[in-house]
């Protein structure tokens, strides 16, 4: 019964709420931006629906980084790292993020967005 209700709710929600599980997992600090331009999972990974949405986003990102890199003669990895600078700058309070040292951190209240030094071009 509960499962049936859940299915019906998903059907009604439709495209408008397509990424709601992802946003929920982001707010909970389970999914966050990585320095390399992709999303990743912190120590407490999310449920299957949020995982599925996160993987779909990463696949789209990989395709975009690859095609832009091919047009400009730059590796997809370098495009991803460049994107990471902008995306880390959008990390909100309470969200998790991963820097190049391999440590997942969570942006606390009053803390600035976690933009690494190399992002400023200096």
């Amino acid at each position: 019964m509960i499962r049936w209700l859940g299915l019906a709710l998903v059907a009604v929600a439709g495209a408008a709420a397509a990424q709601s599980a992802y946003f929920g997992a982001r707010s909970a600090g389970q999914v966050g931006e990585r320095y390399d331009g992709y999303l990743g999972y912190s120590a407490s990974p999310p449920g299957p629906q949020a995982r599925q949405q996160t993987e779909a986003i990463n696949i789209r990102r990989r395709a975009l980084y690859t095609s832009l890199g091919q047009r400009k003669g730059v590796s997809p990895q370098e495009i991803g790292i460049t994107a990471g600078c902008t995306l880390l700058g959008r990390v909100e309070v309470g969200e998790s993020y991963l820097l190049g040292d391999g440590q997942w951190r969570r942006r606390g209240p009053g803390q600035p967005a976690p933009v690494p030094d190399y992002c400023t071009g200096g």
């Binding site: 009604v12 982001r26 320095y35 986003i57 460049t82 902008t86």
Partner: protein
Amino acid sequence: MRRTLILSLPLAAALAGCVNVRTPEKPIEINLNVAIRQEVLVRMQRDVDTLINQNPEAFPQRPAVPANPQGQR
């Protein structure tokens, strides 16, 4: 006005040349065996920002106000 612009072009080009000569070649190390060339980071930032802004399905942004949390029409 126009002449000023034209006259200032060689100067701008010369300045740009100076900046290019000073750009370091060595890549920036970001640990976990990843590196990026500083020149790429600077040159590609604008294109990458356009990419991010024009592909919301790959870079979804939370709506500022959840006006329709149930997703109903």
